[in-house]
Symmetry: D2
Subunit: 433 residues, 4 copies
């Protein structure tokens, strides 16, 4: 059995897994609570899915891989759901066209919420009642489904942010995190040195991981240093003011084309005021740009150009994994002063998301690890088939559930993606002593 779907010892406790399952389901609904049916309907670009669709799709996941397999005689409330809410699993048949998710006025939001309740109750019941034999198969599926649900919690944040930002007077559904404006400054960056040599990366410990984090394997790294915190808004503003967006020599060829074609001159949600100052749209509203927060919503191209401008480079994927292993309290690195917004706040700060950490663009393309193989069946489509033209991001953002963060986690997006909570951490060759 693929390690990503193995029955680990800690899954034996049904009550514990059920509690985590119900918490995850409920947290998704808390995110949607301040939104109206109209908000949940809109799709502003192909990459964005309507909130209503996320609410339904995560339910479809538990229904398809859980209820339909383990509940004898189970039938979907509506046959169409299997078609409408399949995201990309080719093995599961026809699916509704992605760019047209925003056209589905029906089913209504309240129908989707009823669908959620129905499936949550049913899967909860299955957790209690399946035989031990079935449990060994169901438990890893529920575990996978919880992580899948958490991924979509972050996507709900990224997508609704894009939707609401397009309104001429953007709505701010979430209150700011407690202490959000009292972090006391980013402080100067320091450099953390790592010695090179043969290292191992990837998952081997107990605990859940996606298939793409396996197998643990050896890499040879050279000595390097890595920044103690991400690049801040203030630092990125200096790049802009130095003509960074007008200097072709700083950019990858694709990146230069990308910013020309799309007229990109600043991070996605920054808005220049007539007096030259900047506002930033956040899910708590439009606010003056906070110079000490990590720059966010930049593409991989902008990250690479910034690094070039700064005379450094982006860290590779293994380098970021080494950093994460060495600093498991890594959130605390983000800001040196008091009032930090560490990842530790995520669990409670949600849904007041988007005020803290950022995913960090690595220099590494998203490729299979040596010896990688996807699980059998439709869940095998979870990761492997996307290993093309994507860049790995590491870390986690203020919108990532705390329990979803782990040092081996491989997030990935095309280098032009900007609507994710993506930022920049710098690395460099170890300076000679």
């Amino acid at each position: 059995m693929h390690p990503a779907l193995a029955m680990r010892a800690d899954l034996a406790d049904r009550a514990a897994l059920k509690a985590r399952f119900e918490t995850a389901r409920s947290q998704t609904e808390q995110l949607a609570a301040p939104l109206e049916p109209e908000d949940c309907q809109v799709q502003t670009m192909v990459d964005v899915s309507p909130t209503k669709w996320h609410l339904a799709h995560t339910t479809w996941f538990f229904e398809t891989f859980g209820a339909l397999r383990f509940k004898a005689g189970y039938a979907r409330p509506d046959d169409l759901y299997g078609y409408l809410y399949n995201s990309y699993y080719e093995a599961l048949g026809r699916k509704w066209s992605r760019p047209e998710r925003g056209l589905l006025s029906r089913p209504l939001l309240r129908e989707v919420m009823a669908y959620r309740s129905h499936v949550t109750a049913l899967v909860g019941d299955l957790i209690d009642t399946v035989s031990d034999n079935e449990w060994s198969e169901l438990a890893p599926i529920v575990e996978l489904g919880i992580h899948h649900e958490q991924q979509h919690q972050e996507l709900i944040c990224t997508d609704i942010k894009h939707v609401l930002s397009r309104s001429p007077r953007p709505y701010a559904p979430y209150a700011p995190a407690p202490g959000a404006n009292g972090h006391g400054g980013a402080g100067p960056v320091s450099w953390i040195g790592f010695e090179g040599g043969l290292v191992e990366i990837g998952m081997d410990e107990d605990g859940f991981a996606y298939d793409n984090e396996y197998p643990r394997h050896k890499r040879y790294l050279y000595d390097f240093e890595i920044a103690s915190r991400p690049v801040t808004n203030g630092e990125f503003r200096a790049f802009i003011e130095d003509g960074g967006y007008e200097t072709a020599a700083l950019w990858l060829s694709d990146g230069w084309d990308f910013i020309q074609r799309n007229g990109i001159e600043h991070p996605l949600y920054w808005r220049r005021q007539d007096d030259g100052s900047w506002l930033e749209y956040t899910l708590s509203g439009l606010k003056p740009l906070d110079e000490d927060e990590p720059v966010c919503h930049v593409s991989g191209y902008e990250a690479a150009a910034y690094a070039e401008w700064a005379g450094q480079r982006l860290p590779s994927e293994p380098e970021l994994e080494l950093l994460a292993r060495a600093h498991p309290d890594r959130g605390a690195l983000l800001f040196a002063g008091p009032g930090v917004h560490p990842h530790a706040l995520n669990a409670t700060a949600r849904p007041q998301c988007v005020i803290g950490g950022v995913w960090e663009w690595s220099s590494s393309a998203y490729e299979p690890y040596p010896g990688y193989s996807p699980p059998e069946g439709a869940v095998g489509e979870y990761n492997g088939k996307f290993m093309s033209s994507q860049q790995v991001l590491r870390g986690g953002s203020a919108a990532t559930p705390q329990s979803h963060i782990r040092p081996t986690y491989r997030n990935f997006f095309p280098p032009g993606a900007r609507w994710q909570f993506s930022g920049i951490r710098l690395a460099r060759k170890l300076a000679p002593a």
Copy 2:
């Protein structure tokens, strides 16, 4: 003063105009009543506007041309409304991009409904209270606004039909018209002869008309005959079965390109079943194709190809006006038997629309009449500026309010438009005696 904005004698009765105003406003809301916020949000193509937008735009019209001019100190409830709900009046400043109307999750539907009530009450009050001097200016504006409102009632029907039709299980908001399925058959077509010579077309009578219906002017027509009823679904099916959509020689060059490029093989809402039979989506649901109803939702290209196939031609605009003048009870021509769905039903049948008459594609491009001039100011943008690459349609459809139909009415759409309630009436040269 332009005749379209003149103070006619029948506008002197304030109470009567107020009643018509309130009826028109209320009828729009009745159309929206069975729709949910999600339905009212969606825009399926550039030509389609969300129902919510129509509800707001018709309100903006009365606010902009009425309240803002005649109510001292009036301010919009929200400044943005002037920007969001301007359709195409360049003279009134910037406007929200048309293809992005469906992205406006905010303002919410309930906010738009409150905006409607607010402006309806206010304009009602103005009708009662303005001075006689002001009344001579306000009355024609209210009159124009009522007709504008009625146009958007039909557009709400065409647009929501397009939206709902895209759902995999389409919603049917309206019940069928009484007697809808008891019309007793279309009966054979007969031909109504008209003698040629110098005729006059265009508006000169008392009664409201748009600027584009002026001035009344002379045309020279040749003798012609015109069909006593529109082409039926059954007749159009014969065209399909005879290979009409595969025979280039029947089509205008643009039309042939159009159906190739868009893969068009039948009227917009027809759906072929596996057994070869046809269903049609209507606002009352998906039903077996009624062979005796007028074919509807065909483009001007399909109309022209059908006429070519039938060995006839499309009537010109003046020919259709002559027909309408000669048969003011024209609705009754649609079906020969009992159970007809004449236009006379429109007033009561609404919102059970889409079961009767159709707009009829003429062979005439939409051009200004000799001596035409638009009114001064922003309302001058109502019609004239669209006189390019559009084809005139005449008549009215089951979704057209009865009081909105008149013999001189010039509807117009690009020849590729299919989502309107558009059908076909044939004409031909008078056969020699």
Copy 3:
């Protein structure tokens, strides 16, 4: 038999027709003489065809409608030619995709020239040798082919002008017309009055006409006045300087979109210099804008906006035909002074084209005349199927062969076309005495 393909008396003289045929063929080749194989290869946009393609297509026309029908056992030199050089005749089977005409490096230019010689000799021979019976069918085809050849002579000029203009240092293949810069000024415009009433337009005289010029028929016109010469570059410059391209109220809605979307701010071949002066690219090279020449290479939208700005209107199609009938020496109207470039010069001035008259945009959509019917067979596709979304132009240009100009001639292009030699003549209501 359709009048456009009738055997008129003047076609009986085989030698005379043969001479005209050979002249026409030779004139096409004179146009191509100063061009290199590379010039003849390029296609700069879908509307433009490579010169090589024009050379081949006009040959294909004579081969398909002449040689293949009247020469027993005739086979094309290459079967592919029937496929490659069919322009738009659906009845004649598959055809090479229009946007890909520029990809055909093969056949080479010299092979196409050999194809020309082959078919010219063969058709010349047929003219001499077919039976009288065959002659009654062949003669009208040769006549039609000559006019078709002449149309493509003008298209070679418009298309190669577009091609060569795209080069950073544009090539000027043709010398200026004799006296081109000595015309002595346009002089002030005067207004020619016409009394309204029932008139007849369309062809009925002896002499060749296309099918779309039939039948002659009655129209009712109102009194009008029409300008004695086209709008000049100098006059159009005043429109630009007055903000014409920035004033939405002057434009048709489609036209406003068109100039916004394409960033249009002046006629196609004008180039603004840093000092604010203008150059114009002509087939004789880049030259300072001549204020007295007719403005050329404007779209129908620009023509309509100019007329609106000037407080006049565009003339209708019948009005322009009346003008042409009243002034058969119409070329002489173009310029008042000595050094004129009348149409009379065309025959000898060619290939020194593009220094004289312009096609004039009418206000009329291109529609069939009452009673119009196309000829039977593939030649029936010559005109009728394009009667959609096109605007009629009347007159003729400096690139139109003199013998191709007649008062009833209906040229047509979509209102956005700018690469034709198209200009503007104004009309207005007759001023009260």
Copy 4:
């Protein structure tokens, strides 16, 4: 100084370098010899450049980096050349738009050939006459220019093949290689085992390399086996016949989209006959598919899908470098029997290209080696800025000049590229003993 531009000992011999320079220039011209001006003009897609452009651009390279720097007072024959023939060097100012290279009918082919002669003579003269100091700078530039010229020799082959293939009767400019059809069969594949561990890849030896091949660095590899020859046409046909192009599970997600969107069902130049057999277009003409030749003109997506179908995987970049180092006579591996088409034939077989080896898609994204840095100045744009969304190919093709092949060479294209001479070699985990 960057090692890619270093003055190596073997460059001291001016006469030897001059001979190589003149040979390279002359070989390019031999490739163009059988082509006509029309062939050299056409651009069939954005990726393809016209042959004429390649001929000019390679000249521009020597002119810009050689003549302009080392020849006092040198001026380009035409200032425009610096603008027209700059490919992508942002540091060198504005450049002609890539998709419009095919629009440049001027300069003519014969003018470009004169430009070539002019610059070749001039650079030859500089090689003889510059001071020793200058020589130390000029020599590496000439060396780089020769390799650049050789790259464009292959691109001329790939691009003209695309151009000529689009003709309905494609031209075959080159004769087949001697013995092309006598290779005696591909023979069964065998597997070459490599033991894993720490290895070094990248250039460190004497001899020229591009900047992206530096620095030599350590990698950790696992044991692997690699196929003794590329996948053949016959093997790939089995993939097709097994439904490979219809089986989503075999494809990367991007790849599946790519083949759906583009309707791809076989390698680029295969053509299915009515009887189910296949032809392949080659530069020697259309021939029956040779089952024993390497499959060519497949995208990286098709390569990955084939490997998945075969139950193997694509080799990584380091694995292919290890293979190349272990088998410097690697061409001989291609075919086991007599009549081989080894790379050794390239030098003489050219321009009879496209009958031998293929570039092999690796599984590795194109990334900088650890410690990579581009050279200073405009030549620094040669490689580094393309390190995004590209896949590495290794080896060389029958169109690659023999002296251009080396084990460390990194070719790269987007995974959707198909018009290169790209094929497939399989790898797999070392089977347990």
